[in-house]
């Protein structure tokens, strides 16, 4: 029986706590009697027979007829799936998407459906490589569909491949992939890693154009999503739901499939990275020492390659299909069952180790903008109720934050970092003064459409993602970060955690309370 998450009160006997630092980690002693560490629940048991569960779910959907009843010869069927940004780290083969889509295709074949397109719903993310598509979908699907042009990637900049469906009552334009919009049935296959994933966000975001996305990927929405992991208080969620209604009203028929995973994040011999430090075995302690020493001597490029080759052992814990809203509600309950931790009261200082990966640097570099997004966007927002950190508190992140960018994946990030952040770090000012030029830049558009680049506007979204955190926190300090890069972000660099805690006293006074977010694996703090 997996143990639930809990909050450890740090005392003098508490061993040092693990902090991720990009492609590395360290053990840090937190001040006794005023620090606490939030640990997520242990990984839930996976479904016993995943393929049987998938077949069962397809035959017993919620709020919908079974999938086989929706399939008929001559129909247009489109299967969309979450892109390379999920799950993290990538899962061992077979990936959940492969299992689910194979089952859907079996039913389609039985029903005599022969007009099937499979689309990677990547919104403004970079296109997936062949290797990534094969990993997510398996060789059988790839070889059957890709050579015939029936497996492809959503292009949010192809005017001929987009369909405008109308506006929400709030004036939000809804424009999505034309093939998906005009199909008799759209089957969307999700991996819900966090509560924000899935629901109408899948179609209304994953298959949308910039024209549509800009209505919810903006500063106002992010600042009013408290947090965007809590669908009841998320403006992002509400906007996607309004767009979902436009989709339904336009006749887009969606059969939603949402799967959840447990938090079994790291394979042997690195399972200890998810464990509570005092439970590390002697062998695990030795592995930690050997790994940190080896990483210290490894060039960062090589270390990055090693880390990105990690395939997580996480397993499917649930699958539900049918009507979007009903499916998403159940899937979210499963996610929360795996990740929710009760936390009493806010803290003055929130510490977090930023790992080597986030949704936008798979097989790539965690550049300074993504460090910000991961810390102040994702980790800061891992809450329901109130933020873990009090208003005006200090966030301390640990990450090397090198002034480094992947030139193929993140070309507009380089310009954003050099040209925009040099001018201002204020999200609203950035949005007003720079977004349009980046979004409409022909060069970025070309790289997004033909190469493996994130869309020109994507770094803006990463910065907006952090807008609520930036607004809420009094100071941000990055331990071990390259000073020049950290300052460009508008934050303060510190050499050690002790230095950072000392620097934080200007803002939060002497003897502040400290809370460390022990993630990954992912958790959601229910702050009361």
């Amino acid at each position: 029986m997996p143990r639930p998450g809990f909050v450890l009160e740090v005392d003098r006997s508490t061993p040092p706590t693990l902090f991720w630092r990009g492609e590395g980690f360290s053990l840090e002693k937190l001040p006794a009697d005023r620090s606490r560490v939030i640990y997520g629940p242990e990984p839930l048991a996976p479904l016993k027979d995943i393929d049987a569960a998938i077949r069962h779910a397809l035959d017993h959907p919620v709020g919908s007829e079974p999938l086989r009843a929706l399939l008929r010869p001559g129909m247009k069927l489109t299967i969309a799936f979450d892109d390379v940004s999920l799950p993290l780290p990538k899962m061992r083969r077979p990936d959940s998407r492969q299992r689910v889509i194979e089952a859907v295709l079996d039913l389609a074949a039985e029903a005599g459906v022969d007009d099937v397109h499979i689309i990677a719903a990547l919104a403004l993310h970079r296109r997936m490589t062949e290797a990534e598509l094969r990993h997510a979908l398996g060789d059988r699907i790839y070889d059957a569909f890709a050579p015939r042009g029936l497996l492809y990637q959503h292009d949010a900049e192809d005017p001929d491949a987009l369909a405008y469906l109308g506006t929400t009552p709030k004036g939000e334009e809804v424009e999505i992939n034309k093939r998906a919009a005009e199909s008799d049935l759209l089957v969307y296959v999700n991996i819900n890693l966090v509560p924000m994933d899935g629901g109408w966000k899948s179609t209304a975001t994953g298959l949308a154009s910039y024209r549509s996305l800009r209505h919810h990927h903006n500063v106002r929405t992010m600042e009013h999503s408290r947090s965007f992991m809590d669908q009841h208080r998320s403006e992002l969620h509400k906007s996607n739901w309004r767009m979902g209604k436009v989709l339904v009203d336009s006749g887009v028929k969606v059969f939603q499939i949402e799967t959840t995973l447990n938090t079994d994040t790291f394979p042997s011999p690195f399972e200890f990275l998810s464990k509570r430090e005092w439970e590390w075995s002697a062998r695990e302690r030795a592995t930690y020492v050997a790994t940190t020493k080896a990483l210290g001597r490894t060039p960062s490029r090589v270390a990055r390659k090693i880390f990105h080759s990690i395939e997580a052992p996480h397993q499917m814990t649930s699958i539900q299909c049918g009507e979007v809203g009903a499916v998403h509600q159940i899937a979210t309950e499963h996610v929360l069952r795996q990740q929710l931790v009760e936390v009493q009261g806010q803290t003055d200082i929130l510490t977090m180790g930023i790992p080597y990966i986030c949704p936008y640097n798979v097989h790539s570099i965690m550049n300074p903008i993504l460090v910000t997004c991961t810390g102040l966007g994702y980790f800061f927002n891992l809450y329901r109720g109130k933020p873990v950190i009090r208003k005006g508190g200090v966030v301390i992140m640990a990450h090397p934050t090198p002034w480094q960018f992947h030139p193929v994946h993140h070309p507009s990030y380089i310009d954003f970092f050099e040209q925009v952040l040099a001018d201002t770090t204020d999200p609203a000012e950035i949005e007003a003064n720079y977004e349009k030029a980046f979004a409409e830049d022909e060069w970025y558009r070309h790289l997004y459409r033909t190469g493996y680049a994130y869309h020109g506007v994507h770094p803006f979204y990463m910065w907006y993602w952090a807008a609520h955190g930036l607004q809420h926190c009094g100071r941000v300090i990055i331990v071990g970060g390259e000073p020049r890069a950290v300052r460009r972000l508008g934050f303060m660099p510190a050499s050690t955690l002790d230095d950072a805690l000392e620097m934080a006293t200007d803002v939060v006074g002497r003897d502040p309370t400290i809370t460390h977010l022990h993630t990954p694996p992912l958790l959601q703090a229910e702050v009361t």
């Binding site: 380089i414 310009d415 050099e418 040209q419 040099a422 830049d441 060069w443």
Partner: protein
Amino acid sequence: MKALVFERDIPRFAAARVAASFRPGRGARFGPLSLDDVDPPELPGPSWQRIRPRLAGICGSDLSTIDGLSSRYFEPIVSFPFTPGHEVVADDERGRRVVLEPVLGCVARGLDPPCTACARGDLGNCERAAFGELAPGLQSGYCRDTGGGWSTQMIAHASQLHPVPANLSDEAAVMVEPTACAIHGALRWPIHEGDVVVVLGAGTLGLLTIAALRRVTPAGVVIAGARYPHQRRLARELGADRVCAPDELPRLVRRLTGSMAYRDQLTGGCDVVIDCVGSSESIQQSLAIAKPRGAVVLVGMPSAVKLELTTLWHRETQIIGAYAYGTESLSPRRRRRTFDLAFGLVRDADLGRLVSATYPLTRFDEAIDHAANAGRRGAVKVAFDLRDEKERQR
């Protein structure tokens, strides 16, 4: 009188060059520059007079000479030993403060009729820099007969002297000569309304060029490549719309001009680049960011450089030199002396603030070191201060 004297001494040239390879400006200590007691220069004719420098700036071309890095091209048009210093504000024999226009054209050399360039008013293009009544020397400060500003006394032809208005400080006045160079550079290639112009380098000349572009051309967007924080601040204050580190320029130019790129090579680019550095790297970068059929204006003095010119050939880029000043065409019917424009610009843009430090002649090696490392030391213009009467009387 006291003067810094630059001798023709080959071994010490070599020593300067070696010393400078360790740290710019070291040539002052090991090269052929020394502080000497010398006889005042003789007046070549009635139109000449003695002037007593008040401030004399240290220019990039002076530093190249001292560090043994300047081109052998200059050998026939300088005469040794000479006293450097061509950015000069001085007291003339009538007690007026004057700025020296150092180019030694036909009129100063007593040549009548003047050469075609001098007749046009383009003094910098004078074809007689090694002829006439004076020893060879393209400017005062490189001519054996005239002396230079790095001394307590030199001589100047009446045509070289411009009275300084009472409301202009010495610091502002000493910026007039380099400002004239910058204005000439800014006007050397026609800049049209809305053009995107990049200024590469934000030392004295770069900053002055930015100021000049803003005031004497209709440039649309002025982008500055500046290495140091104080340079970036000043570049913005003087009129640059966008400022970035030099290595960030290609990406900024690409984005602001809506250019595409073949990998790192821009397909388009800016209309004009004004290179105020003059190194192989800066010229190469200038060629990479100028649009096809665009222009690269070399304001910074280059020496022997190594260039990959395929870009120039393929993009039909023009490289244009911009030396000194003379008369500028502001419109088909309107020509003005560059120095007159420079006085106005120095006053309007408060360019005297660019003088960061002054030194007495006796601390010349410190002064040269400061000037040669001005950027990293947070400085812009370094000058010799010769206003101490005791020094002047020695």
